[in-house]
C-alpha cells in the first residue's frame, strides 16, 4: 500500500465519524390519507395534482456543521409538469419553527394565503419555505406581501425534489440560537401557485367547490385555512393524529365570509 493512502483513509474516516457525531436530526411522521385539511378538502381536478401529492408523510430537520437541511416526504412521487427545474412543481411547504419556546415571543399570525394562526404559546420565530419557484421570486413575494415577517422567513438558495422528498438547506445560524431538538415545528403543505391572488404568498386557494386549479371543500371566502396537511399530535404518524389535525384546522366563518374563528396550529415538539 502506498504510504499516503493509510493516513488519507484515517483522515477521511475521522471526518466521516466527526460529521456523523455532530449531525443532529429531528424527525416527525404524519398519517397518510389525511391530506384533506380540516377533513373535507379535495384536490383540484387537473391531472397534474396527483393523489397523495399534498399528503405529508414525514418531516426531517438535520443540523450538520453550520447548515440545517429540511426534508419533507409526501405521499406520491414528485413530478415537474410545469418545468420548474427543481424536480417538483405543484407543492409548496412552509416549516414554522418556535425556537425559543417562550409564550408571546414570535408571530401568532400565519403567512398570507394560509389563513392560519398560532396560539401565543406556539408563536413561531422562523419559517423555512420550500418552493419550486426561484429563491429570489419567493423572497421578493415575502418582502412585498409579508414584509412584517421578512427577517423571520428563510428561503433555501436551492430547493430540490427527488423521489417523494422535497429538501432545502439554510444556515443554522440564521435559524437562531438553541438546540434544534428542543424547538417546536409545524409543517404546512400547500400548493405552488405561480399566479397567486394579490395578497397570497404564492399559495393556491381553497374554494367551496374544487376547480381545475383550485382546491375544494372549503369556502369561497378567506375564513378557511388554505392548508392541505399539517403535523398534529405528537408527530408519530398515529392514526389518532388525523383527528388532532381536524381540531387544529377547525374554523368558523361570519355570514359575509370573514373569519369568525381562524384555524390555530399547534407546534409539535419532541
Amino acid at each position: 500500500m502506498k504510504r499516503w493512502l493509510f493516513p488519507t483513509f484515517v483522515l477521511l474516516a475521522v471526518a466521516l465519524v466527526a460529521g456523523t457525531a455532530f449531525a443532529q436530526e429531528v424527525s416527525f411522521k404524519d398519517p397518510t390519507g389525511d391530506d384533506k385539511g380540516p377533513g373535507a378538502y379535495v384536490y383540484p381536478t387537473d391531472k397534474v395534482y396527483k393523489a397523495g401529492s399534498f399528503d405529508l408523510v414525514e418531516f426531517k430537520m438535520k443540523a450538520s456543521g453550520d447548515k440545517a437541511t429540511f426534508s419533507v416526504t409526501l405521499g406520491s412521487a414528485l413530478e415537474d409538469p410545469w418545468g420548474m427545474g427543481g424536480g417538483f412543481a405543484t407543492q409548496m411547504v412552509f416549516v414554522f419553527i418556535d425556537t425559543d419556546g417562550k409564550e408571546g415571543s414570535g408571530f401568532t399570525k400565519g403567512l398570507p394565503g394560509l389563513n392560519v394562526a398560532f396560539a401565543p404559546a406556539d408563536a413561531w420565530d422562523k419559517c423555512v419555505i420550500l418552493s419550486p419557484q426561484p429563491q429570489n421570486r419567493v423572497a421578493s413575494e415575502v418582502e412585498t406581501k409579508a414584509g412584517w415577517a421578512k427577517a423571520a422567513v428563510l428561503v433555501p438558495t436551492r430547493t430540490r425534489g427527488a423521489g417523494r422528498t422535497i429538501s432545502g438547506t439554510v444556515s443554522l445560524k440564521e435559524l437562531g440560537e438553541g438546540d434544534p431538538a428542543t424547538w417546536g415545528y409545524q409543517v404546512v403543505v400547500q400548493s405552488n401557485e405561480g399566479f397567486p391572488d394579490k395578497a397570497d404568498l404564492l399559495t393556491r386557494k381553497v374554494n367551496e367547490y374544487e376547480g381545475q386549479h383550485r382546491f375544494g371543500g372549503g369556502t369561497d371566502g378567506d375564513c378557511d385555512p388554505h392548508v392541505m396537511d399539517i403535523l398534529a399530535g405528537k408527530g408519530t404518524g398515529d392514526a389518532a393524529e388525523v383527528e388532532e389535525q381536524k381540531k387544529a384546522l377547525a374554523y368558523e366563518c361570519e355570514a359575509d365570509g370573514a373569519p369568525k374563528k381562524t384555524a390555530t396550529l399547534p407546534m409539535v415538539r419532541k
Partner: protein, 731 residues
Amino acid sequence: MRTTKTLGLVLLLVAVAVSGTAWAQQGPQFTISGTTYTKWLWGNSRDQGALYNFKDAPGEGYGDNGQGTEIELLLNAKVSKAVEVNARIHSRFYQNFWTNMGGWGQPSEDCSGSGTSVGCGEFDPRSNQYIKLRGVTVTLTPGYSWLDSATIGSSDWGMFDPYVVGRIRYIDRDNVQGLLFQGSAMDKALTWDAARISLPRLWAGPEYKTGNFHVADGAYVGQFKYSGGSTWDIGGLVQWVNDIEVDSRDINWDDGKDTRMRFRNTVFGAKVGIHPNATVDAKAAFYYSTYESASDLAPASFGMNGYSPVPAGKHDDWSGKLNLDFADLGGSGFGVNVEAFHIGAEYASAMAARRESDVLLTEGHDSTWALPGPGNATYGIWGGNPTVIGYGGWEGNAQQVATINVDNQFTDFNEPMAETAIGWRGITVTPTYQSGNLELAGEYTYLTYDTNWQAWGDDSRAITNSPFPAMDMQVGMASYRSAYAPFQDKTTHIALLKGKYVIETGKGIDLFGKIKLISETDKRLNDAKYLPYLPGDCATSGDLGCENQKNFYSTGNSTADFFNNPGVITGANGQVGYQWKPFNDVSDDDRDLSYVMIQAGAGYQWTRDLYGSLEYIYYDADLEDGNTAFQAYNMMEMASGKHQKNQLIAKFRYTLGGLSECGLVYEYNFGTFKPDYGDGFVPTTASEETASSVHVPVGSLGFFNRYGGWNTMEKREFDQQRLKAYLKILF
C-alpha cells in the same frame, strides 16, 4: 281592504329588506386582474415576420427581431355561490411591433404578412393591436349530490390524459371550448368527468381540417378515477370524435338535410397505479384507438410526403407503457426509474396533447436539431426556404407527444420543443443519485420502431400512394413531426449522464454539466426487391447510361417511380458522369448517426434579485444519411457529413417586488457542416442564379437532384446570434 294593502306593503318591504341582507352577505363579487408582457427579440437572421421565433404555417410570419407589448385582462365574477364567470380579453404580440406605433404603421408592400413580412398595419388583425375576446367560462356548482360542477366554455382540458385528450394550447390555453361535467361519489374516492368538446377546425381532422360543415363537430369524452386509499388507484376513459358533413347526395331538403361522416376516432384508455410505500411506485397504462375517414371527403392518400394529423383511411392500433420507480433505495440517495413503452404506428387520437405534455421518460433528441437541413431548414434545396427557427434550434431536449399532430408554433428558441413519439417502442432506465450538494442522473434508452417496414408496410400499393403523412420525411439531423417513412429499419440508443453540484462559497455556485450519446442506424430499404431498377441497369464503365428497366416489387409497382435514374452530364472539372449516383444498392440510403453532446455551465445568485448563468454546449454529429442516389427523398437538404455545433448561452433572471418574471437569454450559435455525399456522380458548379436562390457561393460545387433542388458540397460555416429579453407583470 286598507289593512290588506298595508299588510302587503309591509310584507314587500320585509322581503326587500331580507333579500337586501342576503345580497349583502353573498352578493356578486367582480374582480379584474391582468398581466402585461413585453418582449424584445434580437438576432442576426434579421427576420421581422412576428414576435415569435417559430411559426411555419403557410401565410404566417416568424421573426427574431422586434419589440412588443401585450396585455390581458382577466375578469372574474362570482354571481352567487352556484355561478361563477371567468373571461379573458387579450391583445397578442403577433406583428404588434413598437415600430407600428400602436397599429398605425404604414402597411408593408407585401400585405400577405407571411414569412418575414410585417403585414398590413391597421388593416391586418395581426398588426393592429386590437384587444380581443380570448375565452369565457361559466362554472356552475349547483350543490347536487350527483354533480360537482358544470363548466361551459373555454378550458385547456388538462383533466384528461395526454394520450387521449391532452392539455391543449394553441396560441392561448383557452382556445378550445366545450361543455364539462364533473362529479364524484364515495366521499370523492370515485370521480368522473364527461365533456363535449367542439372540435378545433384548425387541426383536429385529416389534412388539418374538419371539412366545410364544422360547427356540429365534436369530441365526446368520459373518464373515471377510483382511488383505493393511498396505495392504489385505477382509471379509465373513452373518447369519440365525430366530424360530419352535410350529405350532398340528399336532395330532399323538406325533411332537413342528412349528414355523413368525414372522420371518426374512438379511443379507449385504462390505467392502474400501485403505490405500496415511499420507495416503490408502479403504473401501467393501455390505450386503443380506431379511426376512419371518408375517402371522398378527406384525403385517401398522402402521396410520398403529405401533411395531416392523422393517417388516411381506416386504422387501429394500441399504445401502452409500464413504469416502475424506485426512490432513495435504503436511504442511500440512489433511485432508479424504468419505463417500457409502445406507441403504435397507427395509433391516433385527434385530441391528444400536441406539446403541453411529455409522455415518455426519455430525454429523446436534442431540440437544437429540429428539422432536416444542417441549419434546421426544411426544403432548403430550393430558394425561399430558409430556416425558420435558426441554426440554434430550440433549447434543451425534446418532450415527446403521442401524436404526429405536433405543435411548436408561436414559440421562441428558449422554450421546449415537442417531438412525435408515434411508432416508438423500447425501454428507458434512468438511475438517479443525490447526496448533499451533488445530484447525478443518467439514462439509457433502447428504441426500436413500430414503423419499421418496407414500402409503407403494404406491397400492394405504390410507394407514392401512402396513407401515412410523412410530414417532412425522416431525413437529415431530425424532424420533430415526422413519424413515417416508406422504408425503415431503425434502432436508436440514447445514453447520458448529467450532474449538478453546488460549491458552498458566497451564495453558492451552481455547476452543471451533461454528456449525451446517441447511436442510430436505419437500413431503410433493406431488400433488393425494392431497388428501383434491375441489376446492372446503369453502366459503371465505358459508355455511361441507363437502360431504365424497372424492378417491380409487386404488380405494377416499382420504386423507380420515385427514385428514377440519373442522366449523364459533364461535371465541373470536365469529367463525364452521372448527375447523381444510380440507386443500385440497398446501402445507398443507409443512415448511421454517431452523436455526442457535451454541456458545462455555472450559475450564481449575484444579488438577492439577480441570478445569472453561463453555459457552453458542444455537439459533434457524424452522420451518414444516404448518398446522392437517395438524396434525402429528393426533397430535403442532404445532411450526410460531419456536423460540429457550439452554443454559448447566457441567462439572467431578475426579480423585484411586483415583477413576476423578468429575464434575458442570449445565444451564440456557431459551427460547421462538412458534407460527405459519397461517390458515383460528378458534381457541377452553382450558377449565379442558383447561388442567389439557395445562398451559396457562385461557382461552388454541388449537384442538382431529381427534382431540380441544389445540394451544395461546400463546407458551411454557421455564425448566428439571438437574444430574447422579457418582462411580465401581474396586476
